[in-house]
Amino acid sequence: MKKDLTGYWKKNLSLLITLLSVWAFVSFGLSILFVEPLNAIRIAGFPVGFWFAQQGAIYVFVILIFVYYFRMKKIDEDFDVQE
């Protein structure tokens, strides 16, 4: 049976684009481009932009890879291309 590989690849790409957008927004957006306005806000002793650059972004990165793992597992099974 010929598998729907085009459909699978499209699903994969759209997941990648979503996750990479979050990646770019947190690292380059919140931590670099908008760091100055965010630094005006404070949570405890942390200016928020500074916190994202030195803490927050890293936590988000970890979450992104695990989300990717679980979503891909589901997509692989839906299209029956898992190992």
Binding site: L5, I32, E36, G45, P47, I58, I65, M72, Q82, E83
Partner: protein, 421 residues
């Protein structure tokens, strides 16, 4: 590969304990917070600054002496936004393009395991990387408090311990016996001691003094190693840090040397020069090359172009500008062909090497929009992407079987064990 994998697991355990123990101890001592990650956003527990936020105090100590505010992003005395952007990008993309990182994902049994393994890897890395900024901020605080404006004769013991290694030095410009710390270099170049002692017992320097007020030279490399001493932790913690540093260095070097030796014995010698080479011959070639590389690397270790992290930062720029674009395009595009990839890699890495050498060794200025040598890999990467795509478009598409291979690597089913050579 499997052999060193389990040794590396042990090395991770050693290095993370060595990193966390002093970090937690210092965090508890200064802010009373057990987690260093939250500690550097907390208030100082004791002393004249008690009750104030640590970062506020560090900001003030910095600005009092004329340094830029610790948490401030851009502006006077800081890197530009574009530069920060480019360096971050170069380091990220370089990480993904480093050969010794990529080969790790061949050791797991399946594609799904490769994805999960990347998640675990980043989780364990994150434990370390979220602790580092906490150590940095707390060290800045204790450093400013214990040395700046203190008489040399009353300086703490660790100061003299580290003076012997040439990583810290003091030149008493105004002859008042007080260690005065301001921005800019206190003298030209790295410290070179005359071997004689000054009137306060300090090591005298042969370097030419600069005409600013700063009297103190501190190599940034000593912060982690001296931090337990600065915080007066027991001697076994200091020893633990030495063991952790060695674990970190050895685990990385063993894997890198494996990559270099397999590149040379497998890719160069076996695949390109002598197709009939015996296994024994290939291993011997690999071994010899390791020796040669260690010697050349040692020379650069003695005459480094920057701090440790900066030397390494160049490797990232080079990886970003050579591998990453051709690998990503090789997977996500069926149209890119050999002409494109070869031109792309050559232009990308040549541009990056040229810019770094011109800036660091030939005294050139960062002429490309003020982007520093560490961040130029981003530009090299973009050049590589553009050249690869453009040249591919102008030449014939790759053969059918290559296009099928690309199709085939896009889904997990059928991934067998990695093929040994």
């Amino acid at each position: 590969m499997k052999g060193i994998t389990y040794t590396q697991v042990a090395q991770y355990v050693v290095l993370i304990i060595a990193y966390l123990v002093p970090a937690i101890a210092i965090s508890m001592k200064i802010t009373g917070s057990v987690l260093p990650q939250t500690g550097f956003g907390a208030t100082i527990a004791a002393g004249p600054d008690s009750g104030r936020y640590l970062l506020d105090v560090v900001n003030q100590l910095n600005t009092d002496l004329g340094f830029a505010e610790y948490t401030r992003a851009f502006g006077q005395g800081n890197k530009s936004m574009l530069d920060i952007f480019c360096i971050t990008m170069a380091l990220m993309v370089g990480t993904a393009g480093l050969p010794h990182v990529i080969i790790r994902f061949y050791s797991v049994p399946s594609v799904r395991a490769a994805r999960l393994s990347a998640g675990y890897a980043l989780l364990f890395i994150a434990v370390f990387y979220t602790t580092a900024p906490a150590i940095a901020a707390v060290a800045r605080y204790s450093m400013m408090k214990t040395i700046s404006g203190i008489e040399y004769s009353k300086a703490p013991a660790w100061f003299r311990n580290w003076e012997k290694t040439g990583l810290i030095a003091w030149t008493d410009k105004n002859q008042n016996g007080i260690i005065e710390y301001f921005p800019d270099a206190p003298f030209a170049g790295k410290p070179s001691f005359t071997g004689e002692k000054g009137s306060y017992g300090q090591e005298l320097l042969a370097n030419t003094s600069t005409d600013n007020r700063n009297e103190l030279y501190i190599d940034s490399d000593i912060i982690v190693l001296a931090n337990p001493e600065i915080a007066n932790l027991p001697p076994w913690v200091i020893a633990l840090v030495a063991a952790g540093g060695l674990a970190a260095a050895l685990s990385t070097v063993s894997c890198l040397l494996l990559v270099i030796s397999s590149s040379i014995s497998h890719d160069l010698y076996y695949r390109l020069i002598n197709r009939n080479a015996s296994e024994k011959n290939r291993l011997l070639v690999g071994r010899l090359m390791i020796g040669l590389i260690v010697c050349i690397a040692g020379y650069f270790g003695i005459n480094p172009p920057g701090f440790v992290a900066q030397v390494v930062a160049f490797a990232f720029g080079l990886a970003a500008s050579s591998f990453f674009p051709v690998i990503v395009l090789g997977i996500f595009s069926k149209r890119v062909n050999k002409e494109g990839a070869i031109c792309g890699m050559i232009t990308g890495i040549s541009f990056t090497i040229f810019y770094i050498v011109h800036n660091k060794y030939l005294g050139g200025s960062p002429w490309f929009f003020g982007i520093s040598a560490e961040g130029i890999g981003t530009v090299g990467m973009i050049i590589n992407f553009l050249v690869t795509l453009l040249v591919s478009r102008l030449t014939a598409p790759p053969p059918m079987e290559v296009q099928e291979m690309v199709e085939n690597i896009r889904f997990p089913r059928g991934a067998g064990a990695s093929i040994d050579h």
